[in-house]
């Protein structure tokens, strides 16, 4: 898929994802070693975005499984089409095989395994799913195959590139972690964040982007309930443009704080700590 970490950096940049050494190397290794990549980190640092960017950069289709509490096999892997089976039984003699391909409803995991085209499988927010789902994933992640009792084992025709994301609200099992490469994404350095803002909002002035990135870094250093995400920094840049502000002065920050801080207590804290005028 990729020639080298440098190649990753270049091709991700071509689809507007600015990576750094750690990201590029991990993405490259996941492809070169054929291992799933587990990306952990706080909300809004670009974990899901990374998977999308990899799909876009390699021209692969993206199959996404959004995890949530109560996600089960039927939603993640496959389901039998009961209605069709029932109709078939009514229409023909009962000995007809109603557990065959044509009654199978593909769900994301099976779809990714069976796809003949290059595929990026994104298993999003793995930590939200119940522990049982992790068990389901183990077979898939180590051997790239799934077992359907009525049909047998289906092995991948073409190994998908797997990205798992997690906010680390729950520790994932050792067994799962062992099968994956691990990438911990933190908030970007102010320099990188400035570049991200510049690439996402090309019309913004470079010094304003720099000021934004530094201010956001200062906000993140406070003890906040929810630190501003990268996406919110970009929103902030867009807001400033829309308002026609050229400068990020204290009045502007105070007036637009709601774009980056979404808790009343966080806003109060920021106003107090940074000595902003009351909005």
């Amino acid at each position: 898929m990729f020639d080298s970490p440098a190649d990753v950096t270049e091709r991700l940049a071509a689809v507007d994802y600015l990576s750094d050494d750690a990201i590029s190397t991990s993405v490259f290794l996941a492809a070169a070693l054929g291992k799933p990549l587990l990306v952990e980190g706080p909300a809004g640092v670009g974990k899901t975005q990374l998977a999308k960017a990899v799909a876009l950069a390699t021209g692969a289709q993206l199959v996404r499984l959004q995890c949530y509490e109560g996600l089960d096999e039927a939603r993640a892997l496959y389901e039998w089409n009961y209605k069709k089976q029932l109709l078939r039984i009514q229409a023909t003699s009962a000995d007809d095989d109603i557990f065959s391909e044509e009654f199978l409803l593909e769900r994301p995991l099976l779809k990714a395994i069976r796809s003949a085209n290059p595929t990026v499988l994104l298993i999003d927010e793995t930590d939200k799913a119940d522990v049982e789902v992790e068990g389901l994933l183990l077979e898939l992640l180590s051997d790239f195959q799934v077992t359907i009792p009525e049909l047998g084992t289906i092995a991948a025709t073409r190994r998908p590139y797997v990205v798992l994301t997690s906010n680390a609200t729950r520790e994932l099992s050792e067994a799962l972690k062992r099968r994956c490469l691990y990438l911990h994404l933190e908030y970007p350095t102010p320099e990188r964040e400035r570049d991200i803002v510049l690439s996402q909002v090309p019309t913004i002035r470079a010094d304003l982007a720099e000021q934004l990135a530094r201010t956001v870094a200062t906000l993140r250093a406070l003890e906040l309930k929810k630190a501003p995400s990268v996406a919110e920094t970009v929103d902030w840049a867009n807001t400033l443009l829309a308002l026609g502000r050229e400068e990020l002065d204290e009045a502007t920050v105070a007036g637009t704080l709601g774009v980056v801080l979404k808790h009343a207590s966080d806003q109060l804290r920021a106003v107090k700590e940074l000595g902003l005028p009351d909005a």
Partner: protein, 455 residues
């Protein structure tokens, strides 16, 4: 891989294990595979490859970085050469010029420049006599010579030129400079470790410099910096504890049959109810009562318990928290959801009425609790007691506790002392332990384990 690289690799993996990072054999092999496909000369790429294959938890990362810098050092002594394109000659320039240069690095120098400068400074100031006739390398002599913290005023003057002081701009610059100083200190420390390792061997220095990973740091010996990082670790745990106590009652109950929905769905299949629909089960919301020892003898632990209380307060629908030293006071009001955690702690210390004589008295506290707030505990309540069970030789009031426990649904006791110190001196851990299951909980790893056992 050439032999020496294999040795390095194996030595590094062993050192990681010795420092408490669990690296399985399979993961070691993954790393070795990774070494074959990446450019070994690119050091950051090598670091990233090792990190991706071996370090699967952020808590292990700082220790990993220290060891990586020792096993795969950025430079070896003697390679530092004078470079003509440098703006400053680190060997001959005056200290004042060096400080000036450092100041410029602190407000936006590239990592590479910072590292090279740090190495040059270690070379120039780092060698100090250590005992008669011996030399050693030290960070403090560099910090003393350059004292980077004292550069702040000058940088602020230069950068802010004319702007108002004390506002947002100053905060931002301060933040940037502080981060820069930390980076410089880190770079110096790394290079000092490398030089010591060259003199006396990697293994020896590795053993003495790697701090235990965050989740194994003792609550009773915690530093302020650790506490800030701990805060981030505790939040998800609280969420999980809440989930654990809830899920327990949800398993095996699917909720009542939703007759109307089932019938309506059966129309599609000619009146045969193929799919049954159930009303969503009503999750049992547990009530939580927390009793925590906030005395000085466990002050670091108390800080942690308050942190946990705060996190739990946001996860449960109904939580009542009580703090005690020798008398007891309800402290729930300080932990309003959405309130500021730091502020809550400060107000708590100033306003709550928990101290009478200043010495922990479990017996008296329990009696007062039963008397004043006994009705807080009912059949739906989980009771969580946090404390070291050291009662200063006062009567423990076991009967009162027994009564409280019998009225609650579950009760757990977390004790920050090592198990072998229980029942020594004035500890009545054993006695209380017969009434409430007591768990040793001195670090995040043990807290995690405790939460696991609840399942």
């Amino acid at each position: 891989m050439p032999d020496s690289l294999v040795d390095r690799h194996v030595g590094f993996v062993h050192a990681l294990r010795a420092a408490g990072v669990p690296v399985s054999v399979a993961e070691g092999l993954d790393a070795a595979h990774a070494l074959r496909v990446i450019e070994l000369a690119d050091r950051e790429s090598l670091r990233a490859a090792y990190a991706a294959t071996l370090v699967k938890k952020p808590a292990y990362r700082p220790g990993f970085d220290v060891l990586f810098d020792l096993w795969f050092p950025a430079a070896t002594t003697g390679m530092y050469a004078e470079r003509p394109d440098k703006t400053i000659n680190p060997e001959k320039a005056s200290v004042e010029d060096l400080r000036e240069h450092l100041a410029s690095l602190l407000t936006g120098g590239a990592d590479q420049e910072m590292r090279e400068f740090a190495q040059a400074m270690v070379e120039r100031f780092g060698r100090q006599p250590a005992g008669p006739g011996r030399q050693g390398w030290f960070s403090y002599s560099i910090m003393r010579a350059l004292s980077p913290e004292t550069l702040m005023a000058r940088i602020l003057r230069n950068v802010l030129a004319g702007q108002d002081r004390g506002g947002l701009a100053e905060k931002t610059v301060r933040q940037q400079v502080n981060a820069g100083v930390r980076r410089f200190e880190e770079a110096v420390a790394t290079d000092v470790r490398r030089r010591i390792a060259e003199d006396s061997g990697i293994e020896r220095i590795a053993r003495s410099t790697v701090r235990p990973p965050l989740d194994q740091i003792d609550f009773l010996r915690i530093t302020k910096a650790d506490l800030a990082r701990l805060r981030r670790e505790v939040y998800p745990l609280a969420r999980r504890l809440a989930a654990r106590l809830t899920i327990k009652h949800r398993k095996g109950r699917r909720g009542r049959l939703d007759f109307r929905r089932t019938m309506r769905a059966s129309l599609q299949s000619g009146g045969v109810p193929l799919t049954t629909h159930f009303r969503p089960p009503r999750p049992h919301k547990p009530e939580l009562v927390i009793l925590c020892d906030t005395s000085d003898s466990v002050s670091s632990f108390a800080h942690f318990t308050l942190l946990l209380t705060y996190a739990l307060r946001e996860q449960f629908t109904k939580v009542r928290a009580f703090g005690f030293v020798d008398t007891v006071d309800e402290i729930t009001r300080f932990f309003v959801p959405g309130a500021d955690v730091v502020e809550a702690m400060t107000r708590l210390a100033n306003e709550a009425d928990m101290v009478r004589f200043g010495r922990t008295n479990y017996g008296h506290s329990l009696e007062r609790f039963a008397e004043r707030y006994g009705d807080a505990i009912g059949p739906k309540t989980s009771l969580l007691i946090l404390g070291d069970a050291r009662s200063n030789y006062q009567p423990p009031a076991l009967d009162v506790l027994k009564d409280l426990v019998s009225r609650s649904r579950h009760a757990y006791w977390l004790n920050p002392e090592p198990r072998r110190q229980w029942d020594t001196g004035d500890s009545v851990a054993g006695d209380y332990g017969t009434v409430v299951p007591m768990h040793e909980c001195r670090n995040v790893a043990q807290l995690t384990a405790f939460i696991e056992t609840l399942a």
